[in-house]
């Protein structure tokens, strides 16, 4: 579906079901340089099971217009504006990687609106490798290739996509190259690098929170994810073996199973 936030058109996948204001809202926030399509193996399930599932394209990404937002704080406010724009008073947030920084910040800023928070491959800070940051800001496609290499665990490098016939790394590469790299990945990486408030924001979070981490995650290692989770009261942690940072594709079923249990328990669907 398309709607406007701050005067710019936003695209969000509804998981193949029509948007229905009566249903509780889950917003999925993608990682650096990526799009709503990274969530396809999570969003459709919730859309078919009593939720409004909104996988957004951040401004300037995927099918959304406007320019990429330059700070995690701006993105957090933008997510809050999305909740308002679609006519809801509250939402459950799900973030991946950079999306974790955004949803942590958003939850700390708008505690009354955010009912649950699910973090995948999250950390309190994501300092960027200077060379990778420079490549992305200089529009070098090598930045995408490096990101796809580091983002997939050893098992994920062989493929084994849960959807028959799809190949992880090339699909991720196409998503990250679908818009101008310096305007998406470059801006996002800089925003991640600049963001310093993650641990303080985490201390303010009171809603039920889940962290899904992966043993082979090089970009947000388990110890960083645990450190963030330890600052959030009552945070649940689930660790996936043999999996890298792209857990939502590499181990899509496992992620969905854990996420489904957490969200349906803490933020029940509209019963049919």
């Amino acid at each position: 579906m398309k709607f406007k936030v701050n005067g710019h058109e936003v695209f969000a996948s509804t998981g193949g079901r029509p948007f229905d204001k009566k249903k509780p809202l889950i917003i999925f926030v993608h990682g650096s340089g990526l799009t709503h399509m990274t969530w396809v193996l999570q969003t459709r399930y919730f859309a078919f099971h009593g939720y409004n599932s909104l996988a957004v394209d951040l401004p300037g990404h995927g099918l959304s217009s406007g320019k990429s937002l330059k700070s995690i704080e701006e993105m957090a406010d933008w997510v809050n504006n999305v909740i308002d724009a679609v006519g809801h008073k509250e939402a459950s947030l799900v973030g991946h990687s950079q999306g974790c920084l955004v949803t942590v910040e958003c939850t700390s800023r708008y505690p009354d609106k955010i009912k649950t928070l699910s973090l995948m491959g999250g950390a309190g800070a994501i300092p960027m490798n200077p060379e990778l940051l420079s490549l992305a800001e200089n529009n070098d496609p090598k930045a995408v290739d490096l990101m796809m290499d580091w983002a997939h665990g050893p098992a994920g490098h062989f493929g084994g996509h849960p959807v028959p016939g799809l190949y992880h790394i090339n699909t991720g590469t196409m998503l990250a190259k679908s818009r101008t790299i310096q305007n998406t990945l470059g801006v996002d990486f800089r925003a991640c690098d600049n963001y310093k408030n993650g641990f303080e924001a985490a201390k303010k979070i009171k809603c039920p929170t889940l962290s899904i981490l992966a043993t082979d995650d090089k970009m947000c290692p388990v110890k960083e994810g645990k450190k963030l989770a330890s600052l959030i009261d009552g945070s649940q942690v689930d660790i996936i073996d043999n999996c890298g940072h792209m857990m939502l594709l590499e181990e899509a079923d496992r992620v969905l199973t854990v996420l489904k249990k957490f969200i349906t328990t803490n933020y029940p669907p509209l019963s049919s």
Binding site: M37, L41, F48, L146, H161, P164, G165, L166, N170, T171
Partner: protein, 443 residues
């Protein structure tokens, strides 16, 4: 210890490694080092909720082997990885892959621009069968790049061609024709069977969909039929209103928009969800496994195919019984420069040559070679020969033969990986026999 800063390099696996490993994780398959053959029609659901999730494309997995199968899935991922594609869908043959591609792209009333130099079966599909589905085609000679542009109509939904035409070895200017297609907002579909991804990755030159008959060089062993379509993932189906079945809600999946939901894999997802469901040209797991065995040695075989082919080009070019030779490695080939650009790892192993003495000499040659096999296939590890005008393209009339660049003296040679001297010795037997009728007739 050096303080020189190490340059960052992606360590994703390279071609030869992907040929052996892509698409398969042993630890998820009982530790089996070899890809298991999942010889089953169907797959248990955990519960009703799980079944519904699979049918609604909410989660990945297998339902019924007409739609997908784990062994076939490994093959699909492997070929997608080798081509640099986002997704692939394997079918029972190369022809079914072409048909499925067209039926996923087009509706009745649509039009395609098609290269005239194609495998004879493909010509018949586009010329005779697709019009029965309301899909019309305009044929353009592969070297007539501007002709592709001129042939595009309002209802044209794509351009299709073989990168190196069968059997005349004329090469499409893929980068320029891709630009023509993209300027018109339509995709370029390329049958790259002759090349395999070892010789050319069409996505790097602008193609949007790549099709293979896996029966040929990809498998190599000549034991199994298989085809595949591979998606490049760059084509924007939402850029115009030409592809409503990709962009509008699809009734068959609760109003799903394939382009919105699946983006760079939308075409493959639609081809599987709709095409495999409705037409069902599924690949057997046994044949998928057989093809996988061939792909493991693809680069090793292709090097030998190409070196043998280049030797045969030299041999034939200097032979008294040969009127002409066509192969992209020949310096006098009209597309030699383009071939060097598009096929840097080798020019393939398909040679067309004209035998002096015309059709009668051709028949005598083919009837007398002993090592080369006379059959309707290409891309076997064994050397193959055929006389197209009386074989693969025999259903064409004279005018169509001429338009397709075929002549009655043409022999199509698929060079195998036998010892090159044995192939040449065999050809000498064929040429001697071919000269006999002419000697008789001259007396």
């Amino acid at each position: 210890m050096s303080d020189k800063k190490k340059e960052l390099k992606p360590n994703t696996y390279k071609f030869d490694t992907l040929s052996l490993h892509a698409g398969y994780q042993p630890h998820k398959n009982a530790g089996s080092r070899q890809v298991p053959i999942y010889q089953t029609t169907s797959y248990l659901f955990d519960d009703v909720d799980h079944a519904a999730a699979l049918f609604n494309l909410e989660r990945g997995g297998h339902i019924y082997s007409r739609i997908s199968n784990p062994t076939v899935g490994v093959l699909e991922e492997r070929v997608a990885s080798l081509e640099g594609g986002t997704a692939a869908l394997a079918t029972s043959s190369g022809m079914s892959a072409i048909f499925l591609t067209v039926m996923t792209l087009c509706e009745a009333g649509d039009h395609l621009v098609v290269s005239s130099q194609l495998y004879g079966g493909t010509v018949n599909l586009f010329r005779l069968t697709l019009p029965k589905f309301g899909i019309k085609c305009t044929f353009v000679k592969p070297r007539d790049t501007e002709g592709f542009k001129k042939a595009i109509q309002k209802n044209t939904k794509g351009i299709f061609g073989e990168l190196v035409g069968n059997p005349g070895n004329e090469i499409m200017n893929m980068p320029e024709i891709a630009k023509i297609a993209h300027d018109a907002g339509i995709p370029l579909m390329v049958d790259a069977t002759y090349q395999t991804p070892y010789l050319c990755k069409p996505f790097e030159h602008g193609a949007d969909i790549v099709i293979h008959s896996l029966t040929k060089w990809m498998a190599g062993h000549g034991s199994s039929m298989a085809g595949i379509l591979v998606e490049g993932g760059k084509f924007d189906w939402m850029q115009n209103d030409k592809f409503p079945t990709m962009t509008k809600p699809y009734e068959g999946y609760h109003g799903l928009s394939f382009a919105e939901e699946f983006g760079p894999t939308a075409f493959t997802m639609k081809a599987r969800a709709e095409g495999m469901r409705d037409f069902g040209p599924c690949l057997s797991p046994q044949n998928a496994w057989n093809v996988l065995q061939g792909i493991e040695t693809l680069s090793v075989r292709m090097k030998k195919h190409c070196s043998n082919a280049e030797e045969m080009v030299k041999y034939l070019s200097n032979h008294e019984s040969v009127a002409w030779v066509s192969h992209p490695s020949a310096p006098n080939h009209p597309d030699a420069e383009l071939a060097n650009k598009l096929l840097p790892n080798g020019k393939g192993s398909m040679i067309a040559f004209g035998i002096k003495g015309g059709k009668d000499a051709g028949v005598a040659f083919i009837n007398n070679v002993k090592l080369a096999s006379h059959l309707a296939n290409v891309g076997d590890t064994r050397t193959l020969v055929i006389h197209p005008a009386s074989g693969t393209h025999s259903q064409m009339d004279e005018a169509t033969l001429k338009f397709a660049g075929l002549s009655h003296d043409m022999i199509r040679l698929s060079v195998g990986i036998e010892d090159i001297d044995d192939i040449k010795n065999d050809f000498e037997i064929g040429f001697r026999a071919a000269r006999k009728p002419r000697l008789v007739s001259n007396q």
